[in-house]
Amino acid sequence: MIPSIPSSRFFRVSYLSYVTLFFIFLITPLVVVAAFSFNDALFPSLPWNGFTWDWYLGKGDPRLGLFHDDALLDSIGVSVQVAIVTTMASLALATCNAFLFEREQFPGKNFLYVLMLMPLVIPGVILGVSILVFSSTVANWFEVQFGYEVEALRPGLVLVTLGQFAFLTTIATLVISARLRKFDITQEEAAMNLGASRLTAIATVTLPFLKPALFGAGVVAFLMSFENFNTTLMLVGSDAPLTIAMFDRLREGSTPVLNAVSVLLMVGSACLALVSLFVQRPAKP
């Protein structure tokens, strides 16, 4: 079973083939998606008609390539905007939360901590729906009381951002707290003994120490916001982020341009993952 325990050749070979099969299962769908973005056919299916760049560079119907498909490019832009705002906001709040939970003692702290973890166990659809219901209640109340329509509280990008922020903050808080726990507080005290104010000490000593965690949490938040579907679906208005735009196309039965988008997503997240590995490595204690 483990290398130090002798086992039959048959067992070892069948175990290895099981693991190999598992990885084939894991990787095949992705390889297939990538491969069909280069198939010279109108549908992402067999037969294989040869290699083409059309689904990236094609200029017009019926072979509108990704880089000329304005609707898809716009939706990528929307996703990037939403992801940047959500990431920034959730990092800011998560840093506050980390300091609160790691440094302060106060009554009800455990209760607050459990509440903070709640978004992890609320299904995305329900989180989206509850925010939709509540924001519309508030918007209706404003309308009745002041006769003023708060556009931001109706389905749209503001709500999408808020919905994603609601659960990404929890994930970011966990990552940043874990790092802050490892910080040796005497460093901060030394800085203050040398005359730094508390804020200066945090800004010059503690925050640089947290940087790898902030970056890691930022990458995770960005990617999760970019690919979020369930919460976004419930809160989306007329501007569709990429996942929603792709979903609508998929239901219409789309061309391999979606495969091209998928390849772009794979390359994008692989690059982000590599960069985050690179940034986090030298700072490791």
């Binding site: 079973m1 130090s4 506050c96 609160l100 299904p123 995305g124 509540f134 209640t137 997503l265």
Partner: protein, 293 residues
């Protein structure tokens, strides 16, 4: 920090505390607590006339009296449990291989390979399975090529396709906790089990699995939650026959604009998922804060 530093004044510290507390309270109350309370309120009302609402349990009784709703709910729960069990069975040997059989670089490489598919979105993963399973897809093509089928075979839009998609989508959330807990098991304990004459099966049953239990449970809870709340995979791979409960919620909210009924469905799903998570934690005596952090 409060005790160690006498040299900065107390009011400043309290102000700092309130400044840290305010954002989290705002976040939790405005985006988590109040929305859910509001959803409960909406689920308990009934439209009497235009813009006129009264209190009623009607949305809940509608759920229990309409077999379609009820069946979809039970079906979603059963399929989610099945998907969780199958994911565990498939993932366990692989996690054991990574944690216990491999060492050094191959080990890290395989672990990262496990994570790779999950850096691309769920939509792309599901889309990959659509290309594989559809009538004109790769598996159908391969079957014809090998002469095992004489015409295109449609493999999408059935429960097996949904199941494959669900298992594929949640694999990561099972493998990671399993590898972590198996990793912390000392190899000498396994060797001792053999030295004392235990068979592979006995060692597995009385040493490895009890040790891995926290990982097994946290993996199962997360996978179950994500499967139950999944919308994309059942809808795309199951087509019209998917009958997933989140789809019912979507239909009530977005298609029919019956928010009262949709809110009731949402609450029911939330109760079901909390109940299962609570049961899982009780059975394994785990604490919520430990499993989730």
């Amino acid at each position: 920090m409060s005790k160690a530093n006498g040299n900065f004044n107390r009011t400043q510290f309290r102000l700092g505390f309130w400044l840290l507390l305010a954002p989290i309270v705002l976040w939790l109350s405005l985006l988590i607590i109040l929305p859910h309370i509001d959803m409960v309120l909406v689920s308990l009302r009934e439209r009497i006339a235009s813009r006129q609402y009264g209190f009623s349990f009607g949305n809940y009784t509608a759920f229990f009296t309409e077999p379609l709703y009820w069946n979809t709910f039970v079906r979603t729960a059963v399929m989610s449990i099945l998907a969780t069990v199958l994911t565990l069975i498939i993932a366990f040997p692989v996690s054991f291989y990574i944690a216990k059989v491999l060492t050094g670089r191959p080990r890290i490489a395989l672990f990262i390979l496990c994570l790779l598919p999950f850096w691309v979105s769920e939509l792309v993963r599901t889309y990959g399975w659509m290309i594989l399973l559809r009538e004109t897809g790769l598996i159908s093509g391969a079957l014809q090529w090998f002469g095992l089928a004489d015409q295109p075979v449609e493999m999408l839009y059935n429960d097996v396709a949904i199941m494959v998609g669900l298992i594929y989508t949640s694999m990561l959330f099972m493998v990671v906790p399993l590898v972590t807990t198996l990793d912390s098991l000392d190899n000498s304990l396994i060797e001792a089990g053999y030295d004392l004459g235990g068979s592979s099966w006995n060692v597995m049953r009385s040493i490895v699995i009890p040790h891995a239990m926290p990982g097994i449970m946290s993996g199962c809870i997360v996978v179950f939650m994500l499967t139950l709340g999944n919308y994309l995979t059942p809808t795309l791979l199951g087509g019209k026959s998917s009958l997933w409960f989140t789809e019912q919620i979507y239909t009530q909210f977005i298609t029919r604009f019956n928010w009262e009924q949709g809110a009731a469905f949402g609450i029911l799903l939330l109760i079901l998922s909390s109940l299962i998570v609570w049961l899982g934690l009780k059975i394994t005596r785990q604490s919520f804060t430990r499993v989730m952090s």
